[in-house]
């Protein structure tokens, strides 16, 4: 049986190698068609879910952006990212003192302050973790897999600290009912949700400007393309690494907080978040910031729209299958276009 399995595996491998070019061309066209179909179906049949998908997608995008930046610069999959997001949400919960509410939002300036506190804490914390764990491994010349396993250890530690300090039960920033308002095209939205999308887009614009309009951004992109070449041209790579952690950590903090505003927070959630985060980053192409945004949006929208369309077979109409949708996207992209929509070969 082992031999026949091996033979099948080798056969599949050979077929994939021979037809790699065609598979990728056809697959890419097919992927974009599928994405178009998803949007059309969403607009026509599941508008409310499409909008929810955009909200969820913008939260995932902030996390996926961090993952893709860390991957580009440090060349390893950061498996503590989901737990970092949750940690950011909890730090903000600790720093959140209430403080009335701004306009129709359910929270006030206290939350804005808490967001900044959490961003600072996570940015600084990420640097500290890098100095303690990842940098020594990097200097020893450890491979990417070793760094990834170290990040699993970091994830377990972060999760345990959350469990110890804030307990295992789910928590909210502001309890109570916040009614949704009616918008054109039969869409209902809470003011908080508009805040989520606005904050996410603002931050992504800032990261875009930083990457493409500043010297540090240029250095980051150079290092992502070729670390050795960047080093010989005089770029201080350790400083680039530091900025990568600051941006990744701060974005993760905000992503976690926005997720807490949209639904709730729970320490267990962190590791599970990795699936949509990585699905988004891989779909866009690991290492590509624009890709992470597009990929995360598609993952977020698909997760919601698939749940919104009520067909009699899974995963349609079953909220529990949201992770399965993200998983399906991941497997599909790995099969037809592993470098992602915007990734380089």
């Amino acid at each position: 049986m082992v031999r026949s399995l091996t033979r099948t595996a080798a056969l599949i491998g050979r077929a994939r190698r021979e037809y790699a070019g065609q598979v990728e061309q056809v697959g890419t066209v097919g992927l974009w068609l599928l994405i178009g179909l998803l949007l059309v179906v969403g607009v026509v049949y599941a508008r409310q879910y499409l909008v929810t998908g955009i909200i969820v997608g913008s939260i995932i995008a902030l996390g996926a952006l961090g993952i893709t930046l860390i991957y580009g610069i440090l060349k390893f999959g950061h498996f503590a990212h989901g737990d970092m997001m949750m940690f950011g949400a909890y730090v903000a919960l600790g720093a959140f003192v209430g403080g009335g509410s701004i306009g129709p939002l359910s929270f006030g300036w206290g939350m804005i302050l808490a967001i900044f506190v959490s961003m600072t804490a996570l940015g600084a914390g990420s640097i500290a973790i890098d100095r303690l764990v990842y940098r020594p491994l990097r200097q020893r010349g450890s491979s990417a897999v070793v760094l990834a396993i170290a990040s699993l250890g970091v994830a377990i530690v972060l999760r345990a600290v959350m469990l110890l300090w804030w307990g295992p039960d789910q928590q909210l920033y502001v309890s109570g009912i916040h009614p949704a308002k009616d918008f054109p095209f039969d869409i209902k939205l809470k003011p908080d949700q508009i805040f989520i999308v606005a904050t996410a887009f603002l931050l992504m614009t800032l990261v875009y400007l930083l990457l493409f309009r500043t010297k540090m951004g240029k250095a980051m992109r150079a290092m992502s393309d070729n670390a050795d070449l960047a080093r010989v041209t005089g770029i201080d790579t350790e400083q680039v690494v530091m900025w990568t952690w600051i941006i990744g950590g701060a974005l993760a903090a905000v992503a976690g907080i926005l997720l807490g505003i949209q639904s709730n927070m729970k320490p267990e959630l962190g590791f599970t978040l990795l699936l949509p985060l990585f699905a988004g980053a891989v779909l866009g192409g690991l290492g590509s910031p624009q890709g992470a945004f597009v990929g995360a949006m598609i993952v977020g929208i698909s997760q919601e729209v698939f749940v919104g369309i009520d067909l009699p077979f899974p995963p349609f109409g079953v909220p529990g299958y949201k992770p399965a949708v993200a998983f399906g996207i991941l497997i599909l992209i790995l099969l037809v276009r592993p470098r992602g929509l915007f990734g380089k070969t």
């Binding site: 498996f79 764990v133 491979s143 070793v146 396993i149 170290a150 699993l152 345990a160 529990g320 299958y321």
Partner: protein
């Protein structure tokens, strides 16, 4: 050399001393003491099976699987479904129910045949799942497989919960047949099961040790150390990696079968990332990746450490009182005290990081010489085989 042997021996001795000492102190009778230790060793044996499976994947071949719990779960459910009899109530719905434990007539052998067939079925189904996951993910960068395995673990848990007719949803399966159950009275069954778990562990250990010492095993290590060079010497990298991944998953499936028969009942929440994946990684890292003995020592030391940390919880107030730390303790919020068990989770995470940083080869470390024929005399000159933890920078 002597020091290399001393450290793992010392660790095992400390853990044994802790376990035996505390349980002896806590148990009210000799019987209670022995039965506690029996359950402890059985759990270690089951965890060791998972650690051995992971060692085939990570230790030998450098494939990393963050969704061990997926194969654990598939194995546990598969063996339960083939050994159980079909459901007799409309409120308990599950597929299968082949009744292999009791439906074979003279071949039943007190349920032993069913158990073996259940474990084999678990291995086959886990292997098929691994094969299907590996097709898209194994050829690409290592991280992709890790993400795919996390994904498959999450999806399987969801399917078990959502598809109520499949494995009875969140209520789970109960009354999973236990082999040789009718031979002894229920309180004594744990001794029988200890023997079963240890026999399974030994069989798997011997099989992997042989495989690792074969040319096949050396190709796996070669792939781990230098994929390009191995490919250049004519080995089909993908096929070998696939074999190692599938074999490891099959072992994990068997572990799941042994687990479910021991527990007698399983629910989807049994299969958490923490106990199904994280702690097994800690076991292999602590024991030493690339060493089968290390995997077993790691399972013993980590589970022992976990158990001791749990056992001393009730004694913490006494100790604090003795050390006059009571005033500090009473200043802490009440709910924090209820959460002290999570300190153990924290230590498991720290263990992984600290081992990677300070002792990448783990307690036991990898053997240098794995061929039965290679000369003993060149052993001293032979360059140290690098364990994956110190692996070279991939460019």
């Amino acid at each position: 050399m002597a020091r290399d042997r001393l450290v793992p021996l010392l660790a095992v001795a400390v853990i044994t001393f802790g376990i035996v000492g505390i349980t002896a102190n806590d148990s009210e009778s000799l019987n209670g003491f022995i039965s506690y230790l029996t359950v402890f060793i059985t759990t270690v044996a089951i965890f060791a099976v998972f650690a051995l499976g992971l060692n085939v994947q990570w230790g030998y071949t450098g494939i990393f699987n963050f969704g061990i719990v997926a194969f654990f779960m598939v194995g546990a459910y598969t063996s339960a479904l083939v050994t159980k009899s079909p459901s007799s109530s409309e409120f308990v719905r599950y597929v299968g129910g082949l009744d292999l434990a009791e439906g074979l007539g003279p071949l039943n052998l007190e349920g032993l045949t069913g158990f073996v067939l259940g474990a084999l079925a678990a291995a086959v189904v886990s292997g098929i799942v691994a094969f299907l996951v590996a097709i898209p993910a194994l050829r690409l960068r290592e991280d992709y497989l890790a993400i795919a395995t996390i994904g498959i673990a999450e999806v399987f848990r969801r399917i078990a919960i959502e598809e109520e007719g499949l494995v009875n949803g969140t209520r789970g399966l109960t009354g999973i047949p236990r082999p040789l159950h009718d031979l002894v009275s229920p309180p004594d069954y744990k001794y029988i099961y200890l023997a079963i778990a240890v026999v399974v562990l030994v069989i798997i250990f011997v099989a992997i040790e042989r495989a690792a010492r074969s040319p096949w095993g050396r190709v796996l290590k070669a792939i781990r150390e230098d994929e390009l060079a191995t490919a250049a010497s004519g080995k089909n990298i993908f096929a070998f990696r696939m074999q190692a991944f599938v074999l490891g998953a099959m072992i994990m499936g068997i572990g799941g079968a042994v687990y479910s028969a021991n527990q007698g009942s399983i629910v989807p929440d049994t299969f958490s990332h923490f106990f199904g994946t994280f702690i097994i990684w800690a076991m292999l890292m602590v024991g030493g990746s690339g060493s089968n003995r290390g995997a077993i020592v790691g399972a013993y030391v980590v589970w022992g450490f976990w158990t001791i940390a749990g056992l001393i919880q009730p004694h913490v107030p006494q100790v604090a009182e003795a050390l006059r730390l009571d005033s500090i303790r009473s200043d802490l919020p009440q709910e924090l005290e209820a959460r002290t068990p999570y300190v153990r989770d924290l230590l498991i995470g720290l263990l992984i990081v600290v081992v990677l940083l300070l002792r990448p080869n783990g307690l036991v470390g990898e053997e240098r010489r794995v061929s039965l024929f290679a000369g003993r005399e060149d052993e001293r000159e032979a360059p140290q085989v690098r364990a994956p933890a110190t692996g070279s920078a991939e460019e």
